[in-house]
Structures are given as C-alpha cells and as structure tokens.
C-alpha cells in the first residue's frame, strides 16, 4: 500500500471518527460517549438492536447514532459504523468498545502512528510493553493467548493481541476492509484483511480495564470455540 499520503497535518479532531458498536450497554454508553465527545472527535454509535434504543439518550451535535433494527452482532455493527464514517469523509477511523473497558486517552495513542502516513492500521495491544490488562482473570488471559497462537498459525501475522476492540484505520484502509463475519470472529477477520491487503500495521500499547460490569458483558470464555468455528466455516460461503 503506497497510496496513503493524502493525509495532511494538522488534523482537525472531528476528522477522526470513533465507531462505537453498542448492544444493551445502558449503564456505560452515555459516559463513554460523553468522555470521547469532549475530545472533539466525531462519534458514530451503532446501536445493534438494543432493547432500549440508544438514540433517545444521546443528544450531542458531534455524536451520530445508527440503529440496526435487529441484532446482527459486533462485526456487523463495526462495519456499519465504518461505512457511515466513510460517507462523512472521515480521515481516521477508530473502533472503541461501548462497555467502558477502553481508556479515552488511548485513542490518541492508536491514532498517532497514522498521522505520519507511515501506517495504514494500528492495533491496540494490552500485552506489549506499556500496555496493561488491569485485573484480567487468569482463564481469560490463557484463552487470549490461545487466540493469539491461532491467529499466528492461520494468518502468519505477528501480533500480540488479537481481540482488542481498540484499533485505528486510515480512511483508505477502512474502505478496503470488508467485515463479513457479523459475530465476534470479525476480530480475526480484520487481521486476515490486513494480511490480504498487505496493509502496513503496527501495535500500540493500550490499557484494558476489567470491571465487574465489562466482564459480565464481555465475551464469555466458552465463546472462543464459536469464534474459531465461525472463522473456519467462512470457507463455505
């Protein structure tokens, strides 16, 4: 990928779009959105068919809310958000989880490597130096390590964290990535897309906050099998 140098500094904060997939995150969504909105970035919350629509509770000029009329899954929600942001001429697109497990200050960290035009994609990692996974349960850490191994074997990418919701893309990279895995296998699929498009990627340390809430809402460990299954069954399309 050589054609990325349409990026001109200085960047206006509203040209960076934060995509927040959201499914029944009533407790956290407002706080997450408000704290990001204060940075001046544009935000698109993709309400993935939540029981109580998000739209009614968020009213800010730089926050857009798209609502899936039925629940499709996080992968589908991210793809919708990316498409929406691209329609608004986003320069950079950041994916950010709605459950409060990411720190707002890490947005700057994942966008920074894109500014120079040196990279197409930046992946947040909780497992490289400087990153942190506060209070991560042991079993979850183990499953994540297995996921990383699985990714290394299937894609050959040398990444240290495969299922981190905090990532940043240039508009060009985002427009080429097609997420067809509606469910949680999209995290692996994004990596496959990075490989397929030969994107220049890097990892940057981020901190994941494991709260009682994010753990109860987050991925169940047993879902790891489903993710592997979905990824493998992708060949029968």
């Amino acid at each position: 990928m050589m054609e990325t140098n349409q990026i001109s500094a200085p960047d206006k904060p509203e040209d960076t779009w934060i995509v927040i997939p959201c499914f029944n995150e009533d407790v956290t969504i407002e706080n997450v959105v408000n704290s990001i909105a204060n940075l001046g970035h544009s935000i698109v919350v993709v309400d993935d068919g939540s029981l109580t629509p998000v739209k009614e509770r968020i009213n800010k000029s730089n926050v857009h809310v798209c609502r899936h009329i039925i629940n499709l899954g996080q992968g589908a929600a991210i793809q919708t958000g990316i498409k929406y942001a691209l329609l608004h001429n986003a320069k950079f697109i950041v994916t950010f989880d709605a459950d409060g497990q990411h720190r707002v200050e890490d947005i700057k960290q994942v966008v920074a490597p894109l500014l120079s035009g040196e990279y197409d994609v930046v992946l947040g990692s909780r497992f490289i130096k400087g990153g942190d996974a506060l209070d991560i349960p042991k079993t979850k850490a183990l499953i994540l390590q297995l996921a990383i191994l699985f990714t290394k074997l299937t894609t050959g990418l040398k990444v240290t964290d495969t299922h981190n919701g905090l990532r940043a893309f240039t508009n060009l990279a985002a427009s080429k990535i097609q997420i067809s895995q509606n469910g949680m296998a999209h995290a692996t699929e994004i990596l496959v897309e990075i490989k397929r498009n030969a994107f220049r990627y890097t990892e940057t340390p981020v901190t994941i906050l494991y709260t009682e809430y994010s753990l109860s809402k987050g991925q169940k460990i047993s879902n790891a099998f489903n993710i592997v299954w979905d990824s493998m069954m992708g060949i029968f399309r």
């Binding site: 809310v65 798209c66 899936h68 029968f236």
Partner: protein
C-alpha cells in the same frame, strides 16, 4: 481401518472445500443433485448393480454402498444449505445496514 480410508476421508473433505471455495456454481450444484437422483432411480430399477459395484469397490453389500452414497449426499446438501443461509444472512445484513445509515441521527449527506 485400512490405510485407504483416512486418505479417502481427507480427499473427500478437501474436494468439498475446494469445490465450495472456488468452483461453486448453481449449475454444477444442480447437475450433482440431478446425477444423484438419476443414480437413485437406476439403483431402484436394477438393484443387483449396486451389489456388483459394491463388490468391485471393496464394499460387501449394495445396501452399504447406497448407505455411503446417502451419507455423502446428505453432507453435500447440508453444506449447500449452510452456504445459502450464509448468503441470505449477508443480504439481511446489508438491508439492516442501509436502514441504519438512512435513519441515522445527525447525518450530513
């Protein structure tokens, strides 16, 4: 288990995968289904031929051969259905996505 058996299983699975990933077409799907149907009719009219064929292939009875073919046909149909469902899910996703974008709050285009 004879050595040939695992080899056959691997060959069969990989040919299915190759077929569904690269050579898939509605025409070929239907030709395969039609061929299996014709074979079924043939086996009904000439039941002895299945036994003769079975013996040639190293399977004891014609019934067993039919059973194996039946199993393969079932697998083929399941994968066919799976891929149809996947396709219709993809279409459904596109529709839901378009509605979401169209009805978004604050959009500027």
């Amino acid at each position: 288990m004879k050595l040939i058996q695992p080899i056959l299983i691997i060959l069969l699975l990989s040919s299915l995968i190759v077929y569904f990933s690269y050579f898939r077409s509605i025409l070929i799907d239907r030709l395969i289904a039609l061929a299996l149907f014709v074979l079924g009719i043939f086996a009904i009219i000439f039941p002895d031929t299945t036994t003769i064929l079975a013996n040639k292939l190293g399977v004891d009875r014609g019934t067993d051969l039919i059973f194996y073919v039946f199993a393969l046909t079932t697998i083929f149909c399941i994968i066919l259905l799976y891929s149809k469902i996947t396709k219709s899910t993809r279409i459904q996703t596109e529709i839901v996505r378009e509605i979401a974008i169209k009805n978004a709050s604050n959009k500027h285009f």
